[in-house]
């Protein structure tokens, strides 16, 4: 298990290096002179030259990349050209807002989705199963930003149950501000996870060992809860691992609709102003989180499945 963990994180590191390099090259392929956009049309040539020198834009691209990696090793992602603040500071200031929103979304949708899927699989082809299927599919089909807009209109504007914008202060204030965004993000995940759990649960219930458990008179409840579900949630763990990373990027819609701070909003703002260091920093951190969450999902899978553990 230890060797597997080390290997998995080495792979994660490798993925990160490739992703950062690709991102670094891509952002420089975007047309537009960053220095002119940053300094505005009335900037003097001297000012431009000093900024170019400061950002090392006059160096060949491989040297720029090396300089960037050098900073990375020291935990330095560069300086925001406008405010002069450290990029690390800016990104980690915004990150908690996005993380709390995504985590809450995934938690509630996984809990509800697993319960719904397991129940449907335990009662296949009944009325409840069919209703669950119809509801799940419509949830999956609803894009998060549409749900976000509708939720905003109904629960914030009409009913005024929850705040419409911002992130709130204090624990309860923040939680209150999280309800609608995480509802909007999580809804399609509920449907997705429910369908996934139902399918994998039905497969597991048809396996020989379940027949053994039944032949020994174990209760159906126990068979479902501890014998079948442990196996049926394995694919869900993987999907959530990838999903967390995916949500880091798609969170931007929800953050804009609810005018929430967060890295999604941060990256959009900095792309429009060609704020290279901030874009790079944000992308790097969210790529890191993506790689981390898939790695954690793999490790969790290995922990839950002894076969995977000894195979690697």
């Amino acid at each position: 298990m230890f060797i597997y963990t080390v290997k998995r994180f080495a792979l994660a590191g490798l993925i990160l290096i490739v992703a950062v390099t690709a991102m670094f090259l891509m952002i420089r392929a975007v047309p537009g002179d960053p220095v002119s956009i940053m300094l505005g049309p009335r900037a003097t040539p001297e000012l431009k030259a000093s900024l170019i020198a400061q950002m090392a834009l006059d160096q060949p691209i491989w040297k720029q990349l090396l300089i960037y990696y050098g900073g990375l090793l020291r935990g330095d992602l560069g300086i925001d050209v406008f405010s002069g603040r450290s990029v690390v500071e800016i990104v980690f200031q915004q990150l908690p807002y996005t993380l709390e929103m995504i985590t809450l979304s995934v938690l509630w949708s996984a809990a509800l989705g697993i319960a719904l899927g397991a129940y449907a699989a335990a009662h296949p082809n009944t009325m409840i199963d069919r209703i669950a299927a119809a509801v799940s599919v419509s949830f999956v089909a609803a894009p998060a930003f549409v749900v976000a807009l509708l939720a905003l209109l109904i629960f914030a504007v009409q009913l005024q149950w929850f705040p419409a914008i911002g992130a709130g202060e204090g624990f309860w204030g923040r939680l209150n501000h999280l309800v609608l965004p995480s509802f909007a993000i999580g809804l399609s995940w509920v449907g997705y996870i429910a369908r996934l759990v139902r399918a994998s649960m039905l497969e597991v219930l048809g396996e020989g060992h379940i027949r053994t458990a039944r032949a020994f008179g174990l209760s159906e409840r126990r068979i479902i809860m501890s014998y079948a579900l442990r196996i049926a949630i394995l694919p869900v763990v993987t999907v959530i691992g990838v999903g967390m990373g995916f949500l880091l990027s798609s969170a931007v819609f929800t953050e804009i609709v609810f005018a929430r701070p967060g890295i999604g909003k941060l990256v959009i703002d900095s792309i429009t102003t060609r704020n290279y260091p901030v874009v790079m920093g944000t992308v790097l951190v969210s790529t890191g989180l993506f790689v981390l969450s898939t790695a954690i999902a793999d490790l969790l899978n290995a922990l839950l499945d002894p076969r995977a553990r000894s195979a690697k």
């Binding site: 060992h209 032949a215 020994f216 008179g217 209760s219 126990r222 442990r230 002894p306």
Partner: protein, 324 residues
């Protein structure tokens, strides 16, 4: 109380399919006495598995019991509630499944599973673990305490099948569903020996399902020959092997690899295919593959008693009716 433990009485079971009802079992009748070993033999698809799952009532959702009874200790199993069935499973009736690689839950430790099946006992968890270790030791698994923490995939197939038998409480009826088919020959001998031991220790009856005639001859007192969902012949094991009264049984014995003395270039087989059980042909079910079929075979022959304890369903055993 009589000595009859299990009576299958005119049991007919269908599977509802999109093509229509698949008549998996038709008018099955036989019984198992206390402490007796009865073998069931037949090709795959002959309804052996349906029969076992009917006895335990662990059938697929599309199964329909059309008529007949399965009486265990005199009570009809098919009318019992699910709760009553659960009380029978694993205590009065135990089963060893065909594929040991599929028998155990892959993500739970062997110890956990051996503790879970003692769910009827009031012992503490530590006591149950102790019993589990003793069970493993009893079937010859070395270092049982340590192995309790291991998972099924860390055991060999033979070990897993022995563990499957270790799980046994003291049943009155043990169903062995082709327990040696997935194992190699040396392991097969071990499993057969173990079954014999179990039978003498617990004095339980065994319903032994196999398509290996040699094993049936070795182990069983009586044998039931099934073909395409019906019993074609049943009786004392020696009787049947020395004087089979149904052409299917005869061909089955001829085709058994253990029976072929000289090295044949082409192994004998029974020509033809098992009939479609959705659209049953009329008459004798074996007619299309039978070399001795005559006009009479357009009528279904009944399973008739030829002598004490020997039944067969074939017109050839009734020559006097040929003239009629």
């Amino acid at each position: 109380m009589s000595d009859t433990l299990l009576e299958i009485d005119n049991l007919s079971v269908d599977y509802e399919t999109e093509r229509g009802d698949l008549k998996a079992l038709r008018d099955i009748s036989f019984d198992v006495q206390k402490g007796e070993i009865v073998g069931i033999v037949g090709e795959s698809g002959c309804g052996k598995s349906t029969l076992i799952s009917s006895i335990l009532r662990l059938t697929a959702p599309n199964t329909r019991f059309r008529h007949g009874e399965v009486r265990f200790k005199g009570d009809d199993i098919l009318t019992k509630t699910e709760r009553q069935m659960r009380d029978l499973r694993g205590s009065d009736i135990s089963i060893v499944f065909q594929d040991p690689m599929q028998t155990h839950n892959p993500v739970l430790s062997i110890g956990r599973q051996l503790v879970d099946i003692q769910h009827r006992s009031n012992a503490t968890k530590a006591q149950k673990l102790d019993i589990a270790a003793k069970m493993l030791a009893a079937v010859g698994i070395p270092d049982p305490q340590a192995r309790l923490k291991q998972y099924p995939h860390e055991f060999s197939g033979g070990m897993r099948q022995r563990i499957a038998m270790a799980l046994m409480s003291e049943p009155d009826l043990l169903i062995a569903d082709e327990p040696t088919t997935a194992l190699d020959a040396t392991l097969e001998v071990q499993i057969i020996e173990r079954l014999k031991e179990l039978q003498s220790e617990m004095n339980c009856a065994i319903l032994f399902i196999s398509n290996h005639l040699g094993v049936i001859a070795e182990l069983c007192d009586r044998v039931v020959v099934m073909y395409a969902g019906a019993v074609v012949e049943s009786g004392d094991v020696r009787e049947i092997f020395h004087d089979p009264k149904h052409p299917y049984t005869r061909r089955l014995i001829e085709c058994d690899p253990g029976h072929i003395k000289t090295r044949a270039r082409i192994l004998p087989t029974i020509p033809g295919e098992v009939p479609d059980l959705v659209n049953l042909p009329d008459g004798c079910i074996f007619r299309d593959r039978c070399e001795q079929a005559t006009e009479r075979c357009h009528q279904v022959p009944a399973l008739e008693k030829l002598k004490d304890g020997h039944f067969a369903a074939c017109w050839l055993n009734h020559p006097e009716e040929a003239t009629a």
